[in-house]
Symmetry: C2
Subunit: 97 residues, 2 copies
């Protein structure tokens, strides 16, 4: 498990595999919005993400309102994006395939 | 199911039964923060709130980060606080008794 921040080059490469994710404004996290059919579908997705988070031992900052879910991933201890964030983002994307 | 905004007097009375909840800044919602032992406990609580939300046919705006959950209740259609918000807040509080 990586415990260092990705450098700009590694981060750029990682984001090429995460086309729906964006660096947040201060470049300390990656974020993505999701829209579902309704609350039930949105929360079902959140439940699966929660399982992934426990499995990865890495957890999102996230928000939900009805059919909308917003997820931000950051590695708090280091104040930026690490391999842990990228791995969780990839796993989340896989849920939607 | 109430479909009108609470007036100031009714809102004040309702909040007396919801001592942990606060009116938000623009007085269009009521909000509460919760802290748990860890993510697993926080998400277990969120799952129970999600069930309540479906049962009440009224849904929160909410955020989570690790052990922290923030819930805001508002009635979007009317842009303020109704009996629906108060009822859901009371039901959420009951989960924690």
């Amino acid at each position: 498990m990586a415990d260092e921040l990705l450098n700009a080059s590694d981060l750029k490469e990682a984001l090429e595999n995460l086309p729906e994710w964006q660096l947040d404004e201060d470049k300390t996290g990656i974020q993505r919005e999701f829209t579902f059919a309704d609350f039930s579908q949105a929360f079902a997705f959140m439940t699966r993400v929660a399982m992934l988070a426990e499995k990865h031992d890495h957890h999102p900052e996230w928000q939900n309102s009805w059919d909308w879910v917003f997820i931000r991933l950051t590695t708090d201890d280091l104040g930026g994006v690490t391999e842990q964030d990228v791995d969780l983002a990839l796993a989340i994307d896989e849920l939607l395939d």
